[in-house]
Amino acid sequence: MASRTKGKADSGFAPPDLRAEPPATLRDYYRQMTLIRAFELRANEMYRRAKIGGYCHLNLGEEATVVGLMSALEKRDYLFTTYRDHGYALARGLAPGAVMAELFGKSTGVSKGLGGSMHLFDAKARMLGGYGIVGGQIPPATGAAKALTYRGDPGPDAEAVMCLLGDGTTNIGAFHESLNLAAIWHLPIVYVIVNNRLGMGTTVERASAEPELFKRGCSYRMPGERVDGDDPVAVREAARAALTRARTERQPSLLETMSYRLKGHSVVDPATYRSREESQRVRDLDPLPAFRSRLIEAGVLDDDDAKALEEEAEQQVAEAVDFADKSPDPQVKDLFNYAYATDVANASRRLPAEPVFPVADDSTGGAS
């Protein structure tokens, strides 16, 4: 409770009335948040045990945002996200085992082990990728929305696109080019700035001349709104309203969710640029215990229920790790399978030590 009060004082948001929500929905939000938390903590551990390579960015501290956004997004909608994508994949319904297997680089991973942590993808779930290039997802997401206008009409059942980006990403050109395109083309898309107050270590204030990032939509006459990213219901409501505008009016929106990154930029970042006080403050603002005590206070959960959900999450994540561990590595013989979608003459299938011309036969190259 104490932490929530601090959160509200800090953000200035009025929390929505939880009594208006079906208890089962709230309980499910907490379940999902708990699953993401458990998954991320375990991913952190697996990275340290060298089961996971490359970069690994976690959604710790952003669980409420993730769950709020993904509960607003319908199955028929499309999602483009950043490299900080594990939580979104789980909340979009991808199997935790297949997500963990991707982190482990296994052939059973959601991207067959070819993408890794930053590049989760599931065509069936319409999760069209985590993207590792800052801002790189924004133009393709915009084009996906353009394609929707080509195939379908606006209306309450129309499809829409949600495109996520970080606060630091609002300074990249692709963001501005894309918002302009979405506005002039009237695209069914919602851009969501997941503002966790930091790029890697650079604060929003040091990076952005207009630090109230949702206002950046003004240049494109695009409605902008800021919501409390620590509250899944508030996030869901704002996202749903924006998605409705996208579906029925083809009016793109810019939504900004305010949360805190609990740990470093990626698992290897000790975040020494944060003072001891700042780190403590961020821990006090942790949305998970805050939401838990709100639910208990509202009579939706009791402590035993909460513990049961937490244990269930631990169990699911343990199974995910087990699945990933037991899954096979991709085969070197399949290295070239996904070089091209359409087979093409003279495509190279050469490994580093192999000659350009595989067969050195006398009729072609031998000394005469």
Partner: protein, 330 residues
């Protein structure tokens, strides 16, 4: 067969593909109302409407990336970028996204898009508007890069590029648009990844692509009158590269010169020369020579521009030197 310009072949092919498949859409700067900087899309907006012929703002990264997303959802966008120089503003979307999305996500979605763009200097457009940067793209797995030299190949390869499920960079050239040639009637689907023997010969091979092929053919005709038989290999596809055809020709002629419009260092000719030393070394009678652009930002002043770009005289001189070095008697 109908004789037509390279421009007409491109226009007619775009139109035919749009009529055939409503997933084909065009986008780019000034392609609609203005009918394209080089008028390739003349009349298209009127015929197909603004849902399929999409004028974009001046935002290369934005609209090229948007085409990536349109392709992911099943459209077949054909993007026109005014010149190859301006593709640099879109290179992140081309290289880091278009070329990666199929492979990096385990083959779950393809990116069937075409980027049409002219390269080339020689129009006194100075340093930023005259570049031949095709190797930047030809270097990248996941992309296909084609560079047809004549109207018939332009038709066949554009058709193939539009129907291909991978991103294709379709290189045109400012000085080719008005060139003419015989074009087979009806549907023609070319094969990406195959070079052509543009002219058969037995004494020396000249390897080139795009505009340079026309120069190579001109020089070959001149040498014929001197009793020298020049074979011209037109690469047509820079990625994949048809190394077999190049080496088969050089094994036959024993001499090779590359004519390329790009800069020499790390250019197309460097790759061809390396290919020949690996695939035809024992048959070579002389080192492979390269005729390539001088390594300067291209000047505006005509005499300097002329001096910096490879010409028929340059190629004639180098072919002559290779023949002389191998004591070829004419």
């Amino acid at each position: 067969m109908t004789e037509m310009t390279y421009r007409q072949a491109l226009h007619d092919t775009l139109r035919a593909e749009m009529l055939r498949d409503d997933a084909v859409v065009l986008l780019g700067e000034e392609i609609g109302i203005f009918e394209g900087s080089y008028k390739i899309t003349a009349g298209m907006l009127t015929e197909f409407g603004d849902q399929r012929v999409i004028d974009t703002p001046i935002a290369e990264e934005g609209f090229t990336g948007a085409a990536v997303g349109m392709a992911m959802l099943g459209l077949r966008p054909v993007v026109e970028i005014m010149t190859l120089n301006f593709t640099l503003l879109a290179i992140d979307q081309i290289v880091n996204h278009g070329a990666k999305i199929f492979g990096m996500f385990g083959g779950q979605t393809s990116v069937p898009m075409v980027i049409r763009t002219p390269g080339g200097g020689g129009q006194q457009l100075a340093a930023t508007h005259s570049q031949n940067l095709e190797v930047w793209y030809a270097h990248v797995p996941g992309l296909k890069v084609v560079a047809p030299s004549n109207p018939a190949d332009a038709k066949a390869l554009l058709t193939a590029s539009i129907r291909d499920d991978d991103p294709v960079l379709f290189l045109e050239n400012l000085s080719l648009y008005n060139t003419k040639g015989e074009v087979p009637d009806g549907e023609q689907v070319g094969e990406i990844g195959r070079a052509a023997i543009a002219r058969e010969g037995s004494d020396i091979t000249v390897i080139s692509y795009s505009r340079a092929t026309l120069i190579a053919l001109e020089v070959a005709r001149q040498f014929e009158s001197e009793g020298v038989s020049v074979e011209v290999v037109d690469l047509r596809s820079l990625r994949p590269l048809d190394r077999e055809t190049v080496c088969a020709s050089v094994r036959k002629t024993t001499r090779a010169v590359v004519l390329e419009d790009d800069w020499l260092t790390y250019g197309v000719g460097a790759e061809i020369a390396a290919t020949i030393q690996e695939g035809a070394f024992d048959r070579l009678d002389a080192p492979v020579r390269r005729v390539a652009a001088a390594e300067v930002p291209l000047p505006y002043a005509k005499p300097l521009e002329n001096a910096a770009l490879p010409t028929a005289q340059d190629l004639t001189k180098v072919v002559g030197e290779v023949l002389d070095a191998t004591r070829f008697t004419r």
